[in-house]
């Protein structure tokens, strides 16, 4: 359904997307995961045809987005991060208008609009203006405008930013319903829990580069059973490293991921059992620990292990 090959997007000297490749099939949700500014939105804008890639190839249903853009875009549905609605046009007319933009007409259009209104829970507010809606209702209508023409590929760019928990849960249901109908959903987010709940497979992106890819289970397995242990305090560089290296002789999978004068990031199995020994080693090296953060294996930990920084930094 969606094939992205060696996609590069540059703005002058800045490479926003750096040679990323992935595939997503029908009836699945593919997550594009990364912190703000990682290049997710740039990638999704290239896929939707909003931006021209510097190099690489994007194909939607086998149609190249550049060479055969019209056919490729016919299969696309876009739910942008910001609302894209006519607030002075009734909800039903918003859906009709975007349905017509994708070629729906007559009874097919009316039936589909009625169906979508029910689907997004706005059937009783169909003739009201969106400017009178709550934020969650607008989000749902925004979603409805993206799916009114039954797209084969649905692009969702951080659809839950600024959404209350109830509306977020409703949006998850809508995404799952689209997957159930056979659509391919490309979902960008920087919320790990959303990715873990919704995505069948995902790619982790940072500084425009794709740093990990696979199913959620596959990615978690990269961690093994190791925890991430982040210590904050004072860590004399050479002495601390030497002390941890010495400790690694007795703790088999202990590894330093990153280190500076104030932060020490370690990975090891059953980290809680080894805390006293680690504190002793740090203290023996002339350092001190003021704060400890222990995380069990999940996607957030994986991102931390892969990049040495928090996903939401």
């Amino acid at each position: 359904m969606l094939n992205v090959e060696d996609l590069v997007k540059q703005y002058g000297d800045l490479t926003a997307v750096d040679t990323i490749s992935f595939e997503a099939g029908e009836g699945s949700v593919f997550g594009l995961l990364g912190p703000n500014g990682a290049g997710k939105s740039t990638a999704i804008n290239c896929i939707s045809g909003l931006l021209s890639p510097t190099s690489g190839r994007i194909a939607v249903s086998g149609h190249d987005i550049i060479k055969d853009g019209k056919a490729a875009r016919q299969s696309l549905g876009v739910v942008p991060q910001e609302l894209a609605l006519y607030e002075d046009l009734p909800a039903i007319d918003n859906l009709r208008y975007w349905g017509k933009a994708y070629g729906l007409r007559g009874k097919v259009l009316e039936d589909r609009v009625t169906e979508v209104l029910g689907h997004i829970g706005l059937a009783d507010r169909a003739k009201d203006l969106p400017k009178e809606f709550s934020g969650g209702m607008k989000r749902r209508l925004n979603f409805g405008c993206g799916i009114v023409h039954k797209p084969k590929l649905l692009l969702l760019d951080e659809p839950t930013v600024g959404v209350d928990p109830q509306s977020r849960a409703k949006l998850f249901d809508l995404v799952e319903a689209e997957r159930g109908d056979g659509a391919c959903v490309l979902y960008t987010t920087h919320y790990m829990e959303e990715a873990e709940r919704l995505c069948d497979s995902l790619a982790i992106i940072d500084h425009g580069k794709l740093i990990a890819q696979g199913t959620v289970a596959e990615l978690k397995s990269q961690l093994g059973a190791r925890d991430a242990l982040q210590l904050t305090g004072e860590f004399p560089a050479e002495a601390s490293k030497a002390a941890i290296d010495t400790l690694a002789n007795s703790i088999s999978d202990l590894e330093i991921l990153t280190q500076d004068d104030n932060t020490l990031l370690l990975t090891l199995s059953s980290a809680s059992q080894h805390l006293p020994a680690i504190f002793a080693a740090v203290s023996g090296a002339g350092g001190s620990v003021s704060e400890t953060n222990l995380r069990s294996p999940n996607l957030e930990t994986l991102f931390l292990l892969l990049t040495g920084k928090e996903l939401r930094e």
Binding site: S48, R73, A84, L85, D88, L89, Y97, G103
Partner: protein
């Protein structure tokens, strides 16, 4: 094509929500038009002044003097009104007249006996033109009186000495007339100008000058159209801020229909404004209804041309504030040069020439011609083609800007 109609319907539905804007576009020119019309028509024709006359002499001659102010064309300017001395003093002091003439008792006797006599003329200092005219007329009357006394003093005395109760008999009147005729004949050679062959050349028939207030009408209508077209063009920025342009460019092959749809929606709104303003203007100025359709079509399509150019211009700027600021600042010189404040016909020729080169001045110029011409549909093919080219180029630039990045941000 079907998406074009969807776009038209969408924009018209949105504009229907904003009735206030349409009322403002209509209201501003009506306000300005009303002010201009009241300034031009103001007092309702030629101003007249009131000359109060207190005739204390009540004689034949004093009657001639009082009547002289109301003769022929002078009567259109001055209304002579006999009053008592007290009333005249009060009214001139209250500023209720242009002048107050006091004819003293014994005026006729003094005139006939060639003894000094003083006529008193008080003028209203709050007025300038009419009191001046009254002064000039009074001086001319005194000069005329002097010469009349010199020439016809004896005859006038005969009339004065005649029995004032009974009607003079025919012999008396004929005698006086013969004497006057004899004097006229004797001085005729001195008074009459040398004999000249006068050849009267008929001037070429002057073109009928249109009503000045009518010349304001095209500019006032275009003022409404200018405001409307600029505001309608700003809707591209509204759509961009709504995010709908981004969604639009992700859809397959709908951009041309979208731009054309906006133009047709603008045509409808501008057409509505033109219909209302022209309808009222035609009724007020009593313009032939045979010119209504041609004027409406010209103004409506002219408005779309300006909409297209305002849209193209607005999309060249990096942000909405700059776009709004520049186009709003541009509106006023355009209205000034394009005949919205002063008719092109009333401007110095070089300014009018520049004004006719402005888009709205071009439209105003042709509309003025249409409204004042003897027949309808007088706007030539070249003007229509120019308007078509102007609209097409504006829409082409708008489409290019949408594709070139305006819609993607």
């Amino acid at each position: 094509m079907k998406f074009l109609f969807a776009s038209v319907k969408k924009d018209l539905a949105r504009w229907r929500q904003d009735k206030t804007a349409i009322l403002i576009w209509l209201g501003i020119p009506f306000l300005i038009g009303g002010l201009i019309t009241s300034m031009i028509d103001g007092g309702g024709g030629t101003p007249t002044g009131v000359l109060l006359i207190a005739d204390k002499d009540e004689s034949l001659l004093s009657g001639f003097v009082a009547g002289a102010y109301s003769q022929d064309q002078l009567g259109e300017l001055i209304v002579a009104e006999k009053v008592s001395l007290e009333e005249g003093e009060k009214r001139i002091n209250d500023g209720d007249a242009s002048g107050f003439l006091i004819i003293p008792e014994g005026f006729q006797d003094a005139f006939l006996n060639e003894t000094p006599v003083t006529l008193i003329l008080k003028t209203n200092p709050a007025q300038t033109i009419l009191p001046g005219i009254i002064e000039d007329v009074t001086e001319i009357l005194l000069d005329a009186g002097f010469y009349a006394q010199r020439l016809f003093g004896p005859e006038i005395r005969q009339i004065q000495n005649a029995d004032s109760i009974t009607v003079p008999d025919d012999v008396f009147v004929a005698g006086v007339a013969v004497e006057i005729q004899a004097k006229m004949s004797s001085i005729g050679t001195k008074l009459s100008p040398p004999l000249l062959d006068v050849v009267i050349v008929e001037p070429p028939p002057a073109e009928p000058r249109p009503d000045m207030a009518l010349l304001f009408l095209p500019g006032i209508i275009l003022m409404a159209v200018l405001f409307a077209s600029n505001s309608l063009a700003a809707d591209y920025w509204t759509e961009r801020q709504n995010g709908t342009l981004r969604r639009l460019v992700s859809a397959p092959g709908v951009l041309t229909g979208f731009v054309a749809g906006k133009a047709i929606a603008a045509l409808t709104v501008i057409g509505l404004i033109a219909t209302v303003t022209l309808f009222i203007g035609f009724i007020y100025h009593d313009v032939s209804w045979s010119k209504f359709l041609s004027s409406l079509v010209w103004v409506s399509f002219g408005g779309v041309g300006m909409f297209a150019w305002f849209a193209a211009l607005q999309m060249l700027f990096a942000n909405n504030r700059a776009a709004n600021l520049v186009t709003t600042i541009l509106l006023f010189p355009l209205m000034m040069a394009g005949g919205s404040f002063f008719p092109l016909a009333a401007l110095p020729e070089w300014i009018a020439g520049v004004g006719r080169l402005s888009p709205n001045g071009f439209i105003v110029d042709r509309l003025s011609g249409e409204l004042t011409a003897a027949s309808s549909w007088t706007i030539d093919a070249n003007s229509w083609l120019t308007l078509l080219a102007m609209t097409a180029s504006g829409l082409a630039i708008s489409t290019w800007r949408l594709k070139a990045g305006f819609a993607r941000k």
